[in-house]
Each structure stands twice: as structure tokens, then as C-alpha cells.
């Protein structure tokens, strides 16, 4: 017999019974539809225990890596104990602000030190909570082994969190972190697969983590990093990335602006046109797209039509904060480095 732990209780499974059928039989409501491993409505995550390979068929590599599986096609081996994790059980971790530093006219680099283990993959996002509960989501620009967490916060007129971080917050102040979340991260493997990273504005933050993660993992194929901004002053970390590219011949860094004169090494024009010119046939590549939703949706479609498989396109659309957070659940789902 195998059994599964769900919300602090153990449920036995009949032989050959799926996790979904077992939970439904015992009165646990689990969202589901096709019961055939196709629609993915019954996606769940295992906190511990071995997930059968078949239960992850068709899932993105990023989901597999985080132990997600489909409950309807999960028939654990006899004797298996599987513990399920729910999104609601994500922990908040205490942290302290370490430094705030301007990277450009309107981008603030915020470094934080977590005071409890906070596991994340470079490129994911987290929710930053101020002591009074004000919450905003930001992409993580640092690598897990760097010790401190790095966020790129766009300074907006009237931005509650960004304004506070810029003018009032002091190093040492206590905050809390929730998450991480997001599927826009590098999974080691297939080092011969070219990577295409594209982002606008502070959409560079997750890409800055992903590109360094891929290089550290020994990715040998060409890595293209496109960073777009409206005007030259919107670009940041230009020197750091040029320096990184000079040390890694397979990294091609392409900063660009929509408006402005052709300058040293900065292209002028829309991001999609620049990508098409430099990477005309990205068949079989892996892509990471970050920025405002219009850009992400449009690039995703264009790259898909140019030959990338949807499974190989990892995207993170930054949603603007238009109203005060109604609850932590609502804000944690939106990745946003723009507020």
C-alpha cells in the first residue's frame, strides 16, 4: 500500500489507484478535468517522496524540477509515501535590507540578507513585505549561492514601496520575504542548446540571474542577451554585462533603445526586430522573456512562429500595481519589478 499526506493527514491509496482518484474517493476536493494527463488541471507539488516519471509527462522542465506532477496520472509504487505541498503553505522568511544603490536614473539595486533559508532559482520572483504589510513582487537578480538577495526596483513617481526604499528605508531594517514563485529560470542540462534572453526595463533582473547561472553551469552554446529600454538612460548594468561578455565568448550582449541616436554598441529599434536580425532561425533554442505583458506576449508568439517550441519558452510578465494589495495571495502571483 502507498499513502499520501495532504494538509497534515495521511490518506491510503488502493493498489493502482491514482493520487487524484484516491483523494476524491476520500472526500478531498481536487481540481481536475480530463483525468488523462492532458489538461493539467490537477497539477500538484510533492514536498517529499518519489514522483513517478509518468506523472510528470508533458510538464515543462521547470515544473518537473520543482517536483510538480499530475495527480491523475500519479500512481505511486507500492509502499511509497508522498507528501503534498500546497501553494498556501509557502513560508514567509525574515530578512534585512543590506544596501540600496542606484543603478541608473530610475532603477534601485536593493540587496537583502535572508535570516532563514530561502531557496530559489535565479530568475524566479519573490514578494517583499514591509513591516506594516505593504507587499510588492520583484524578480530576483542574484544567484542562490551569493549569500545576499538582489532585486532591481524601478522607481516610480508615487510608488509606495519603491519610494520607501529610495528615501526612507535604511540598511538593517527588517522585512519579510514570501515565495519564491515563477517558472522563468534556468534548468541545467542540454548545454549545447542556444539560449535567447530578452527583457525590457527591469525585466533585466531575472535575466541577469539566469545568464550568470547558465554560464556558471557551463552552458557552452551561444547565449544571446537582449536588453531593451525606451531611452539610453533606461539601460543599466551595461558595463558589468560587457565585462561578463568579454570573459565568456559565447555570451552575446545586445543593449538597445527605442529612441535615441546610434551610440557605442547600443542598437536602436524595437526589440523583436533586433532579435530577428541577429537570431533569424532560433529552431530548437530555449528562450527566457521578461518585461511588460504586451512585450512578453508578442515576443512569445513571434519566437514560437519562428520555430521555438512553446515548452522551451519561459516567460515572466511583469504586472503593474494598480491598487493596494488585497491580500498576500493576490500580490504573490504577479511578478513585478516595475513598481
Amino acid at each position: 500500500m502507498s499513502r499520501i499526506r495532504y494538509e497534515a493527514q495521511w490518506y491510503p491509496l488502493e493498489p493502482e489507484e491514482s493520487v487524484l482518484d484516491g483523494l476524491l474517493r476520500q472526500g478531498i476536493p481536487v481540481p481536475h478535468a480530463c483525468k488523462a494527463g492532458v489538461c493539467q488541471s490537477c497539477l500538484m507539488r510533492a514536498a517529499s517522496g518519489v514522483v513517478p516519471e509518468k506523472a510528470q509527462m508533458g510538464l515543462k522542465e521547470t515544473l518537473k524540477a520543482r517536483n510538480y506532477f499530475l495527480a491523475c496520472s500519479c500512481r505511486p509504487e507500492p509502499g511509497t509515501e508522498l507528501e503534498l505541498a500546497g501553494g498556501a503553505e509557502e513560508l514567509q522568511v525574515p530578512a534585512r535590507l543590506e544596501s540600496m544603490e542606484l543603478l541608473g536614473e530610475d532603477v534601485l539595486r536593493v540587496r537583502l540578507r535572508q535570516e532563514a533559508p530561502f531557496e530559489y532559482r535565479a530568475g524566479q520572483y519573490l514578494t517583499l513585505l514591509r513591516a506594516d504589510g505593504l507587499a510588492r513582487s520583484y524578480s530576483v537578480a542574484s544567484l542562490p549561492d551569493e549569500g545576499t538577495l538582489e532585486l532591481h526596483v524601478r522607481l516610480l513617481p508615487g510608488g509606495a514601496m519603491s519610494g520607501w526604499l529610495r528615501t526612507e528605508a535604511r540598511p538593517g531594517q527588517a522585512v519579510r520575504l514570501q515565495g519564491p514563485a515563477g517558472e522563468c529560470f534556468y534548468v541545467p542540462g542540454r548545454p549545447e542548446q542556444p539560449l535567447l534572453l530578452a527583457g525590457a526595463g527591469t525585466g533585466l533582473a531575472p535575466l541577469y540571474g539566469i545568464v550568470r547561472e547558465a554560464l556558471a553551469a557551463g552552458h557552452t552554446a551561444p547565449i544571446w542577451l537582449f536588453h531593451g529600454a525606451r531611452e539610453p538612460r533606461g539601460l543599466y548594468l551595461v558595463e558589468a554585462l560587457r565585462e561578463l561578455a568579454s570573459r565568456h565568448p559565447n555570451l552575446h550582449y545586445r543593449p538597445s533603445v527605442l529612441e535615441g541616436r546610434l551610440g557605442e554598441g547600443v542598437a536602436v529599434g524595437p526589440l523583436d526586430a533586433l532579435i530577428r536580425a541577429e537570431c533569424p532561425r532560433p529552431v530548437g533554442w530555449r528562450a527566457f522573456l521578461c518585461g511588460n505583458p504586451e512585450l512578453v506576449v508578442s515576443l512569445r508568439k513571434k519566437l514560437f512562429l519562428a520555430g521555438l517550441s512553446l515548452k522551451d519558452i519561459h516567460a515572466d510578465a511583469f504586472l503593474p500595481s494598480t491598487r493596494p494589495p488585497e491580500g498576500l495571495g493576490a500580490t504573490a502571483r504577479a511578478s513585478d519589478a516595475s513598481r
Binding site: 489538461c39 506576449v297 512553446l310
Partner: protein, 127 residues
């Protein structure tokens, strides 16, 4: 593989779920670039749409699924309101055949799949 006693579905014969993964990208790309029907796909979530198309391909190939005629009706009602008709259905069927051809599926099997799709015409068009 030895001779099967039962008649296996097209789904099994062309390689099961893995083949569906390959098919869905090709199929979706064809549909999105066809001006006759691409406007029906404007503004939809590509990942969700791709999952639906995989379910559709799985179904017409005789693979495991739980779709019913009623699901098909409900799922397309809003598109029928926007003018979905036989010409659009034919275009999608054309891409279905083309996708399977591109994957090297034998003609008799393709015919089987197209028949399965044809059997859904009335439900899809809410007639």
C-alpha cells in the same frame, strides 16, 4: 513490436503522448499563420490554448481523453457567435491532416483521424 491482438488506436500507433507534444507545436503554428482562422486565436493564452489543442489532438487520434460532444459545443459557442463556420472547420481539418503528414503518419491513419474530427463538426459549430 509484435502483432497486437486488439486494434490499437492511432494515438498508440504514432507514438502516444510524446507524439502529441511534437504534433501540437506544428499544428498550433499552422493555425496561427493561417489568415482564414488566426483571428479566432488573437489574445488567447498560448499555453492554455496549446494544452487544449493537445487534448484535441489526443482525442481525434483516439488517445485517453474525457471530452464529450457537450464540451465541444460549450467550448466553441462563443466562437460560433463570432462567425465560426464550415470554412473555418475545414481549414482546421486541413491543418490537422497537414500536421500528421509532416510527422510522417501513414495516409490510412490520417484518414481515420480526419474522420474522427469530422464526426465533431456539428458539435463544434453548435448545430
Amino acid at each position: 513490436m509484435g502483432q497486437e491482438a486488439h486494434v490499437s488506436s492511432v494515438f498508440e500507433q504514432i507514438g502516444g503522448a510524446k507524439a502529441m507534444d511534437a504534433a501540437v507545436d506544428l499544428f498550433y503554428r499552422r493555425v496561427l499563420t493561417d489568415d482564414r482562422i488566426s483571428h479566432f486565436f488573437e489574445g488567447v493564452d498560448m499555453e492554455r490554448q496549446s494544452a487544449k489543442q493537445k487534448a484535441f489532438l489526443t482525442m481525434v487520434c483516439g488517445g485517453p481523453n474525457s471530452y464529450t460532444g457537450a464540451d465541444m459545443r460549450k467550448g466553441h459557442a462563443h466562437l460560433v457567435q463570432r462567425g465560426l463556420n464550415d470554412l473555418h472547420f475545414d481549414a482546421v481539418a486541413e491543418h490537422l491532416g497537414g500536421t500528421l503528414e509532416e510527422l510522417g503518419v501513414a495516409r490510412p491513419l490520417i484518414e481515420q483521424v480526419l474522420q474522427a474530427a469530422e464526426s465533431m463538426r456539428a458539435d463544434v459549430l453548435n448545430r
